[in-house]
Amino acid sequence: MVADTSTQINKPSIGDYLKNNIREYGLLIALVIIMLFFQILTGGVLFKPVNLTNLVLQNSFIVIMALGMLLIIVAGHIDLSVGSIVAFIGGLSAIMLVKWGVHFSIVVPLCLILGGLVGAAQGYWVAYQKIPAFIVTLAGMLVFRGLTYLVLQNRPIGPFPKDFQLLSTGFVPDLFGFLGPISFNTPWIQFQQSLIDTSTWSVMWPDPQLVLVQWTINNVFALVVALVAVALLIYKSIGHRRQNELHGTENEPFGFFVAQMLIISAVAIFFGFQLATYRGLPNVLVVMAVLIALYTFVTTRSTIGRRIYAMGGNVKAAKLSGINTERLTFYTFVNMGVLAALAGMIIAARLNSATPKAGVGFELDVIAACFIGGASASGGVGKITGAVIGAFIMGVMNNGMSIMGLGIDYQQLVKGLVLLAAVFFDVYNKNKG
């Protein structure tokens, strides 16, 4: 009858660790493989500074909405209306900015509040009237799309004032601008042509050549931010490991830790360098990074986050544990509305016009990002980092296939198969484990 009740924790072996965390590493590895794949297929266009910047701009709104959607899915619900909210709030912002001439510093917070209200209007039915979220937000999808046509009177509105456009097309000014552009030369291997010619689907020899390439860093600040971010991350992670060791909490194997840090640092510095050689940090990237950090914190460290996971895992047990599940559900939808409103404004600013058709089908990209990122359709499971990587996997595929000149037909087909494969991978792992 005597059993081990000591508090010491067995050190997991590397094999065990990999098995337990295969989902997260697998996802990251998948993203890297997909990126390399398209880098080759597009003949090196994908990693070009212009394109990397575009990739960020094109995906920011999907990432931002995926943060809210992840909470909704973890809570055990779904939101199909976000695409329509994007159009609706985008339209309202256009009317206020363009037709009424209101200053953007008033319009932006106002639109965020309106987005919250839209979320509240749907959250009420889900949380307090217990109507399944699928139905409520399906109705919301139709209602807010209809309202968008109404308020825009079927016509696009634009262009926006310059300052509002900066929300999505602006760049953070170079604090080290006084240094001026810095140029230097290094030898580099350059491919003259793409490996696969997508017009004829023939494989061609990429024909590498050693050339002297001139690099110009236009925006030192972007590179500095990348370096500082990497330094902070390493410092924090080492501190965290120390704490864990002191208190006997589970740590990942040291080799893994080092490898992980090296890869993340390399990617971040490469990314920062590429952005620095173009126009620097897009404003949206900063907004996105802050939001990702905030939501990661909320999901992993806050009581609200913990309660959402508990509620999604077992709503009855959570309620009987004293959690106000109705209010929590309600606020999850309010939060989604605010984030969808932000995305709506970013999209409107990017397109420089609000159209009634904005955001059609976005809900599917956002939901797919969460599921690719490992969220469970039955609730209680999912991570912010997963959803973000999932969003970027979708984004890179969109971007890569567009560059290759593949039509919307192939793009949808491939995206659908990737979603299915990702979820199959989850189910397979679960059954095996």
Binding site: T249, R307, S321, N324
Partner: protein
């Protein structure tokens, strides 16, 4: 003369990392009721899954002889074909289909895919008669009680020409009347020559019906006892199950009873769904510091409903009455308020209502009182780990760490996690609803010990249980409920199985 219908020889079944069955041998005589007992995790259900083909031949070692011939079942239908039918603990009925549809599900009376309804209903009626049910065949499963659902399962087994019926804890969720009816039915079947294997934790029932008892412990066969040649007492069975004599099933306690903590006055509650039906009538009771108070009663007497309606009005409708803590009225209208008032409710259904199974021990432990390990809404990881580790060692929760998901814990350890969660809210009165249901004997003893410790610390315990010996063994005072009323209050000296049953019966006559 003893015709052996089934023999399992040297069965060994391993799961990754665990040997669930180790060289188990098992013999069943034709026409007998054979009980299979053992603590949770001893391997009873695994053995039956090997027998029925849930684990196909080849995934285990050993041989199965049925009717004297070696058999290798690779699917359930292989074993069903020979009349081996298993009824699992969790009933496999579709709630929104009718009795008839359920009985012939997957086995429909049909020609070319078109169901022959008149014949189906007629056959169903015949089968229901055999198991003593008078419900119309078109009744939906959801509209009949668990006891009758169990009988429908048996009728379904009969429809498949059962020769060897296996019942996995058939009476676990039945009240005594339904249990008795079920056991009587098994004895009738025995008289007609059918063989049954029954897995059960309820030793008194086993003594009543079993011809032979096979005891499993830690994946091995301990012994087979023959009830026809000697009288097997419960203590004898327990000794075999736990590997030692269990002198005292209830740890001793010196009650030190103090002031009145909880007082419920004139508690009237209407039914949650049938809103015009009054369910609880003028319920009054008290719980004092250091006291363990029991509520006895049959299933449906209103015990769980009393507890849940007090705990944040989480059951019922049109609730009236007063709840006082230490003599002062308190607000229990929502669960957070009830917790603040010093109440805790450990639910009878720990998987559905007690735990977030996909979360780990640590997360479940702090769920009801997250504020205590957080500041400004941010969880202090170190504090939380410490709290969870403390409870894990204090309550002796067996797990590899506090990071183990609760879904992988045994019933007893799950219950301890639920208890940890509520102890961490530091309640004055704990309401324990069937705290030992489905838990093996060793773990039960540990739960009783925890209850005693809590009482010694001056907390008040209100314990709801359907096992009368448990109430008699642990409580200082017992209320008896029947049909939504408290019908008797018995002191420890007055309380006995007879006096409780008498109180229930007498109150039934009055109405």
């Amino acid at each position: 003369m003893d015709n052996i219908i089934l023999e399992m020889r040297g069965i060994t079944k391993t799961f990754p990392g665990v040997k669930a069955l180790d060289n188990v041998s098992f013999k069943v005589r034709e026409g007998e009721i054979h009980a299979l007992v053992g603590e949770n995790g001893a391997g009873k259900s695994t053995l039956m899954k090997v027998l029925s083909g849930v684990y196909p031949a080849g995934t285990y070692e050993g041989e199965i002889y049925y009717d004297g011939e070696p058999r290798r079942f690779s699917t359930i239908s292989d074993s069903e074909h020979l009349g081996i039918i298993i009824i699992h603990q969790e009933l496999a009925l579709v709630p929104l289909l009718s009795i008839a549809e359920n009985i012939f599900l997957g086995n429909e009376i049909a020609t070319k895919g078109v169901i022959h309804w008149p014949q189906t209903f007629a056959r169903t009626q015949e089968l229901l008669k055999k198991v003593g049910l008078s419900e119309p065949p078109a009744t939906l499963i959801t509209d009949i009680g668990v006891g009758k659902q169990q009988l429908v399962e048996i009728a379904k087994a009969l429809s498949k020409k059962v020769r060897l019926l296996i019942l996995d804890e058939p009476t676990a969720s039945l009240n005594e009347n339904d249990s008795d009816a079920l056991l009587k039915l098994l004895m009738e079947f025995r008289a007609q020559g059918m063989t049954s294997i029954i897995i059960s934790h309820k030793l008194n029932e086993i003594r009543k019906v079993a011809d032979q008892i096979t005891i499993l412990r830690d994946g091995g066969t301990v012994e087979t006892l023959d009830c026809q040649t000697e009288d097997i007492g419960e203590d004898r069975i327990i000794k075999g199950m736990v590997g030692r004599a269990m002198e005292d099933r209830y740890p001793p306690r010196e009650p030190k009873i103090g002031e009145t903590l909880l007082e419920v006055k004139n508690w009237n509650v209407f039914h949650q769904h049938h809103r015009d039906r009054q369910f609880l009538h003028d319920v009054n009771f008290t719980v004092r510091a250091g006291e363990v108070v029991g509520i006895a009663g049959l299933m449906g007497a209103g015990r769980t409903e009393t507890a849940m309606s007090i705990f944040g009005k989480s059951w019922g409708h049109k609730i009236t009455g007063d709840v006082l803590m230490r003599g002062k009225p308190v607000d229990v209208s929502t669960i957070p308020r009830a917790i603040d008032a010093g109440l805790a409710y450990v639910t009878e259904d720990r998987k559905q209502l007690g735990l977030v199974l996909i979360n780990n021990i640590k997360e479940n432990t702090t769920l009801s009182n997250l504020k205590a390990v957080a500041s400004n809404g941010v969880i202090d990881d170190r504090k939380e780990v410490k709290v969870a580790s403390d409870y894990r060692s204090k309550l002796r929760i067996r797990s590899h760490s506090i990071y183990q998901e609760t879904v992988n814990l045994s019933g007893g350890n799950q219950q301890k996690v639920v208890l940890s969660k509520w102890l961490f809210t530091n309640p004055e009165v704990l309401i324990l609803d069937e705290p030992t249901r489905g838990i093996d004997i060793g773990a039960k003893y540990e739960i009783y010990t925890i209850i005693n410790q809590l009482a010694a610390e001056g907390k008040g315990i209100l314990m709801i249980s359907s096992e009368m010996p448990e109430l008699l063994g642990t409580c200082d005072r017992i209320y008896v409920m029947n049909e939504g009323r408290i019908v008797a209050e018995l002191s420890k000296a007055e309380a006995s199985q007879e006096s409780i049953m008498r109180a229930i019966m007498r109150s039934g006559e009055k109405h």
